[in-house]
């Protein structure tokens, strides 16, 4: 049974249709990419998966749970890194991790996490004083502190410099190496190509293609995922 199964998901805000019949599934142990331009319906889909929003129609199963009704059980097993993670400016990094660890029944070791995310030297720093890359690593740490089976990472490397991006990619591979399934929301094709086992390409509320990056390149007859993405998503323009 897939770890995530989405069947014909629909969601509208007033007159605007955000997600219009989306289906895909994610297997255990995969790094699965959700690709799309802004407004393609990626974030809405992910928020429905987390139980933060209620779908208008469609079947959703995450870890065998229904996000809309089993939110309490789901949040214990799913770690989420938000697009713009925010913590109180005067909260120290270690305090943040220890606080979030206290929310979970079986949390990760905070010291180990600090080492893994290269935050050891900043354990006593205020969150508000950290650089963009450091804040990003803290938000990843928060997603991992509950020892999740599934990590949802949203626009992970937006705003990071090339070195920080590559470090972050290694980290995602390490997370998967530890047995965590990763759902990666991104609009960077190089990131998807490098990290994802499979991707779903979103366009105007639909999934226009699903497959490995190589399959999508072949389907579109293009040499890069970037070109394949452009030719697959052009219809709405």
């Amino acid at each position: 049974m897939p770890l995530i199964e989405v069947t014909d998901l629909r969601k509208r805000y007033g007159n605007r249709v955000a997600v219009d019949g989306v289906s895909f599934s994610v297997e255990r142990g995969e790094i699965f990419g959700i690709l799309g331009t802004n407004g393609a319906g990626k974030t809405t889909t992910v928020e429905c998966l987390q139980g933060l929003r209620r779908a208008d129609a469609g079947e959703l199963s995450v870890l065998g749970l229904n996000p809309a009704t089993d939110r309490a059980a789901l949040t214990r097993r799913v770690g989420v890194q938000l697009q713009e993670s925010q913590l109180p400016a005067k909260l120290r990094v270690r305090e943040a991790l220890e606080l979030f660890a206290s929310f979970y029944p079986n949390p990760a070791d905070v010291d180990l996490l600090l080492d893994q995310l290269d935050l050891r030297d900043h354990a006593r720093s205020y969150f508000g004083k950290l650089s963009g890359g450091q804040k990003q690593r803290v938000s990843i740490a928060l997603a991992l502190v509950g020892n999740p089976e599934l990590a949802i990472l949203d626009e992970l490397t937006t705003g990071l410099d090339p070195h920080a991006r590559r470090d972050t990619w290694k980290l995602v591979e390490a997370i998967r190496g530890a047995g965590v399934t990763v759902l990666l929301v991104t609009h960077f094709m190089d990131e998807a190509e490098r990290l994802c086992d499979r991707v779903a390409i979103f366009d105007a509320g639909h999934v226009v293609a699903t497959g490995t990056p190589a399959e999508l390149r072949a389907t579109a007859g293009e040499s890069t995922l970037d070109d394949a993405f452009v030719s697959l998503t052009g219809s709405a323009r």
């Binding site: 933060l52 938000l82 993670s85 206290s102």
Partner: protein, 244 residues
């Protein structure tokens, strides 16, 4: 450490690192007391206030001011700022129940409020010879009930306001009546009878506080109403709470 303890300890640290509200809640009431007391005539018996000293009548209202400020400005401000900054959104992805956060805020501000009141009582007694509560235990119980009853109103604003600014605005709906009925604008003995009677039941309970103070019996019904405000308010806040 369990979740509630941990969140309370962490929130306390954060509270002390930005000590504006703590200093405000603790130091403003005694500062006002000293300021009013320094005005000639305020600490002398007067014809206008039926032979009482203005300062004796005013101390309970001063307690109302400090409780209302913390309840209706500090608490909603703190929580709504978290909502505005997206801190609550981060918490919404975890299994933590929002009651933990509201409870922690409640506890921290109750401690600050009690410290402020203790300072007013101590200073008032030492400097202006304002008598201490005649029934200290009843006074303490009434004060706690009164504090939580008015803080519960602040929690409701904290539960729903989107931004710190709108939290302040929302809380004002309760702020002015509480100040008015608490005798902050006009000493309670000078209020019309019917308004004073209504005021007997309005949080944070100026009348039962005064009764415990001067040694009259406290009306159980007035305490019960305060308790009802406290329970209904916190329950409503937990129910209405939204992360975003």
């Amino acid at each position: 450490m369990n979740t509630f303890t941990k969140i309370t300890v962490t929130e306390s640290k954060l509270f002390l690192r930005t000590p504006m509200w703590a200093l405000f809640g603790i130091l403003l009431p005694p500062a006002l007391l000293l300021g009013i007391g320094a005005i000639p005539g305020m600490s002398q018996p007067s014809e206008v206030t039926a032979g009482f000293r203005f300062i004796d009548l005013w101390v309970p209202s001063l307690i109302v001011v400090s409780l209302a400020m913390l309840a209706l400005q500090a608490i909603p401000g703190a929580v709504a700022t978290y909502r505005e900054q997206g801190v609550l959104r981060q918490l919404a992805t975890t299994p933590v129940h929002p009651a933990n956060l509201l409870g922690a805020q409640l506890l921290i501000h109750v401690v600050v409020a009690l410290a402020g009141v203790a300072l007013v009582l101590g200073l008032g007694h030492a400097v202006y010879d304002v008598p201490l509560p005649r029934h200290p235990l009843t006074f303490l119980v009434t004060l706690l009930l009164g504090t939580v009853s008015v803080f519960a109103l602040g929690l409701i604003a904290a539960a729903v306001a989107r931004t710190a600014k709108s939290a302040g605005g929302l809380a004002m709906i309760a702020f002015f009546p509480i100040m008015f009925f608490g005798g902050v604008y006009l000493p309670r003995p000078l209020l019309p009878d019917v308004l004073r009677r209504i005021g007997d039941y309005v949080p944070p309970g100026t009348q039962p506080l005064q009764d415990a103070w001067v040694g009259n019996g406290v009306q159980p019904l007035q305490l019960a109403v305060l308790a009802a405000f406290a329970v209904a308010g916190t329950a409503l806040a937990a129910r209405l709470f939204r992360w975003e």
